[in-house]
Symmetry: C2
Subunit: 172 residues, 2 copies
């Protein structure tokens, strides 16, 4: 069910210069905050219907860039990675669990935003919990899926971004 860059669902292309900062941010956040090395697999343009996840942290972007950055896990990966991040065992049913997922998504989006070189603002996260949910692809937003592997389990980062302004100062 994996998609490739030539999948028919891919009407719009995402600028590669948006992908590298996002991948760097994923690596930096997991390596410094979760203390786990991340092996980033080849990013793919998302096809419909996309991959199913159990836990997703969603951050909206607006400003010169509009869209979202989504951090999605199977439950087992989320439990291990988020517990390592929090420094204590977190049950997926505990109220701290979505807070920790949201905070990881927030750090990744914050790091990527800083490196994008656009005037973009990020929203506070939404965290979706539900076995086998999909983040649907909208037809007018290019979406790239970055699969990530770690010793504690796999996850994915989905970058749905549309540029609506011109490039601005870096580090805004």
């Amino acid at each position: 069910m994996s998609s490739i860059a030539t999948a028919p669902a891919a009407k719009a292309q995402i600028d590669p210069k948006l992908i590298v900062p996002a991948m760097n941010s994923v690596k930096a956040v997991f390596e410094t905050m979760v203390k786990v090395a991340v092996q980033i697999e080849r990013p793919t343009i998302k096809a419909t219907p996309g991959v199913s996840y159990d836990v997703s942290g969603i951050i909206g972007l607006s400003g010169d860039l509009t869209g979202s950055i989504v951090l999605s896990f199977p439950t087992a990966s989320a439990t291990k990675l988020v517990s390592a991040f929090a420094g204590c065992e977190l049950d997926p049913k505990s109220p701290e669990f979505p807070d920790a997922v949201g905070e990881l998504a927030n750090m990744i989006a914050g790091g990527a935003k800083k490196a994008f070189g656009f005037r973009a603002n990020i929203s506070t996260p939404n965290v979706v919990i539900g076995a086998g949910h999909k983040i649907a692809r909208l037809s007018d937003v290019p979406c790239v899926v970055i699969p990530c592997k770690t010793a504690m389990g796999d996850f994915a980062v989905e970058i749905n971004i549309k540029q609506i302004g011109v490039a601005a100062d870096a580090n805004r």
Copy 2:
């Protein structure tokens, strides 16, 4: 499982002046675009773990307000309401279905944002599809659930908003 304003999960309060514009926007969008009357039930502060949904459109807000507006449906309501909005029968598996859910969420968030009187930007929507998913409550973001009833089925609007700036000019 419904929550009330005194539910223990409710650490933070949401400003009532943010709820009324959101409710007005929900009514206006459904009445003009879906051609269905909306009966708005009493808003409640969201408790953990919250209500389960099958289809959710999520819009991030940033600027003086940060958070999100989420439009969530059971599948049957979503199918009827979104088909009425699109003017043709939409299958929940079709690529047009998430586009239409996202556009409805976008119109509601856009209408609410305009009426809030804050400098806030909205992101393009994310649409989550998955039977029984929950939008987790984050501990530091006040969240109000607005249950809505229509002749085509029920749905809910969740307003997760934190004010981070001061009130600004209206209509920004």
